[in-house]
């Protein structure tokens, strides 16, 4: 995209082509097995339901087995690929002025919110997440479109980040709208 350190000749009128860099930190490496296990659980239910339906429903046409197999193949691909891609994509950063995250695995979502507009900071740890020592943080602003979630930090980091964010937001005074 941008030619860093190329010869200083004007190749096109100086139109700045800003590129968002990726946020500084990765999520916890434990997130990969966590995503894999939760995907496995969800997909097993779906494939199982499809298989049971195939067996139980009387007089199903023979070609529906192909559908069941396709679902199964998609599930396997999902379980194998999704966690790795996600781990590459998910990143987060909290600076003194803003929260910046990137997430997604097929699509991408980048979110930025200024810290002085943050209203609440929640952290969440499901049972499965606790097993892997993970926690998620959700930062909300006054906009329903604005909540920022950092998924799957390791629990210790999550605690630190929450403490830091709470300290910063407590210092703010206006009503953050």
């Amino acid at each position: 995209m941008s030619d860093v350190g190329a010869e200083p000749i004007e190749r096109e009128p100086i139109v700045p082509r800003p590129v968002l860099r990726e946020p500084a930190h990765r999520v916890s490496p434990q997130a990969v097995p966590f995503w894999r296990v939760s995907a496995l659980i969800g997909d097993t239910v779906i494939v199982g339901a499809a298989a049971v339906a195939y067996v139980v429903v009387p007089d199903v046409p023979g070609w529906t087995i192909v559908l069941v197999l396709l679902v199964a193949a998609a599930a396997v691909a999902h379980v194998v690929l999704m966690p790795r891609i996600r781990y590459r994509v998910h990143r987060w950063e909290v600076t003194d002025t803003a929260v910046h995250t990137r997430e997604g695995w097929i699509g991408r979502q980048t979110r930025i919110a200024p810290i002085n507009r943050v209203q609440t900071v929640d952290s969440r740890q499901g049972a499965l997440m606790r097993l892997f020592g993970l926690a998620s943080i959700t930062v909300t602003t006054a906009s329903a479109a604005g909540p920022i979630t950092v998924d799957c930090l390791d629990a210790e980091t999550a605690r630190e980040v929450v403490a830091r964010l709470t300290a910063i937001t407590a210092a703010g005074e206006d009503d953050a709208t």
């Binding site: 800003p18 590129v19 803003a98 997604g104 699509g107 507009r117 602003t141 906009s143 479109a145 709208t177």
Partner: protein, 502 residues
């Protein structure tokens, strides 16, 4: 049992004693009639005991709210106490009062009453006083808005300092006279038939009716088919003609009547640092929006309205029940633009040309519409196969749908665009309607850049400016990623910069 309203506590208007029982009887009339009929049929003496209870019950329950509701205005707060067993006290600090809305249904007006709703900036927490006498309501409204002005020392409508309430406290100006921004002009009635929002209501009513239609014994597949055959045989053209003329005439009447009822004596003024709207023929509304909380406006030109040069205008505010408040009836575009500029206190944002999003965005707009049309065609083909309908119909439908989709795609691309006009972010959107959303950059509280897999391949993104005002998001669809990022950087200086690659 009932505490005397001392200490400055006042009751609602005593005429409330008439209002609620009448309403309660209105609501109870069906069960009462059913019960009475049932009892008279069962033919026992029991009915003479039940009947008075059914009538007196609503009266007593209607009177309870008046007996138990009190309100009080202190130097700093408005307090409302209500409830019989569960005492409920709501208080709001006067400097948090964002809006004071008055509303009167026909029944209220006959009794000279008004319902007062006080908005406090927390979305779903409105203090309601139903009902005060009209004079009391007006007085309360004026007092609340005045006190708020005194409490917030800074002059509210100054856009540049509104987020910094502590700087440079100026002495409160002497109460300025209300400035009229717009007033109903009955030549605007010509826009009524072109505004289809009321059609949605009409369609809803018809839909509700058709629910009953489903239960009618005559309506089944066979009668439908034989009716259809009969129509096709004899008089399809004539029937369609008559139906459409009748429909059009009905629509004219409904739309014009609706416009008159809703916008009768419409007046929009600016006073006490607020926009104040009054209108209504039967139910009168009086809506107040604090200007310091108005973060932008939205001008909508629906397809038909644009053909005749009309537009509608809404304000986007924070802390109002739903942040989008329509402040103008369908009216000439110039009026909407003028009022919009007065509200924004800037000339550019509503008239400046927008930056187009380019050929790739056009391609995506077309594809999006064509995909939906194709889905419909496939569904129609399936139906045709199932019901054994001629394929010619499907072909004709496909042609019509695809042409329509192409037209809609092109129009939605043409409405697409963005601009940064001074300290306002401008977003163009809409498929058939042309919608221009203007948001103060001060009101932007975050950005979301989302890219689907397809968008990533061609370097486009959906950019969302999040805000607490209005719908809480302003979407710029299919903008080039680098353009979007540059725009975000320019609109909120210092926020995005540190995340840019050097």
């Amino acid at each position: 049992m009932i505490p005397a309203p001392g200490d400055g506590w006042s009751r609602l208007s005593p005429r409330k004693l008439l209002l609620d029982p009448v309403k309660a009887i209105g609501q109870a009339v069906v069960p009462v009639v059913v019960a009475v009929v049932g009892i008279s049929q069962s033919d026992s003496g029991f009915g003479w005991v039940v009947f008075p209870v059914l009538v007196i019950g609503p009266l007593v329950f209607g009177a309870l709210p008046w007996l138990t509701t009190h309100y009080r205005l202190t130097d700093t707060q408005i307090q409302v106490r209500s409830g019989v067993l569960n005492k409920n006290t709501s208080t709001a600090p006067l400097d948090r009062v964002r809006s004071v809305d008055l509303e009167a249904s026909l029944l209220h007006r006959v009794l000279g009453l008004q319902k007062v709703q006080v908005g406090t900036g927390v979305d779903d927490d409105r203090i309601t006083l139903d009902a005060l006498s009209a004079a009391d309501a007006q007085a309360l409204r004026t007092t609340l808005l005045r006190r708020r002005e005194a409490a917030v020392v800074v002059a509210a409508p100054d856009a540049s300092t509104e987020d910094l309430p502590d700087v440079a406290p100026r002495p409160p100006a002497p109460a300025p006279l209300p400035v009229e921004l717009a007033r109903i002009d009955w030549s605007w009635l010509r826009f009524a038939p072109f505004s289809l929002s009321r059609l949605v209501l009409l369609a809803g009513a018809l839909g509700a009716l058709s629910q009953f239609g489903d239960n009618l014994p005559i309506w089944n597949e066979e009668t439908a088919r034989s009716t259809w055959d009969w129509l096709a045989q004899f008089a399809l053209v004539a029937v369609v003609l008559v139906l459409s003329v009748a429909g059009l005439a009905a629509w004219l009447v409904v739309s014009v009547a609706g416009y008159v009822v809703q916008w009768w004596r419409f007046l929009l003024v600016r006073e006490h640092g607020s926009l104040h709207l009054t209108s209504g023929l039967f139910t009168t509304r009086s809506i107040t929006v604090e200007e310091a909380k108005v973060r932008g406006v939205r001008m909508t030109e629906p397809l038909l309205m644009r053909a005749v040069g009309g537009a509608e205008l809404s304000t986007l505010a924070t802390g109002v029940e739903n942040g989008v408040t329509q402040v103008l009836p369908p009216c000439p575009r110039e009026v909407a633009v003028g009022v919009g500029q007065a509200v924004l206190e800037h000339r550019g944002p509503l008239t400046d040309p927008l930056v187009a999003h380019g050929p790739l965005a056009r391609r995506r707009a077309w594809f999006r519409e064509l995909r939906e049309a194709l889905a419909l065609v496939v569904a129609a083909a399936g139906a045709a196969w199932w019901f054994d309908i001629s394929w010619w119909w499907v072909a004709a439908l496909a042609v019509v749908l695809l042409l329509a989709a192409a037209a809609v795609g092109e129009s939605s691309y043409r409405h697409l665009g963005h601009a940064l006009a001074g300290d306002h972010l401008v977003a163009g959107s809409g498929q058939l309607a042309r919608i221009r959303t203007v948001l103060e950059t001060d009101g932007i509280i975050g950005w979301v850049v989302s890219q689907s897999w397809w968008q990533r391949r061609i370097g486009l993104a959906d950019l969302v400016a999040t805000t607490a005002a209005g719908d809480e998001r302003v979407l710029l669809r299919d903008v080039r990623l680098d353009v979007g990022v540059a725009l975000a950087d320019a609109a909120t200086p210092g926020l995005v910069r540190e995340f840019l690659e050097p």
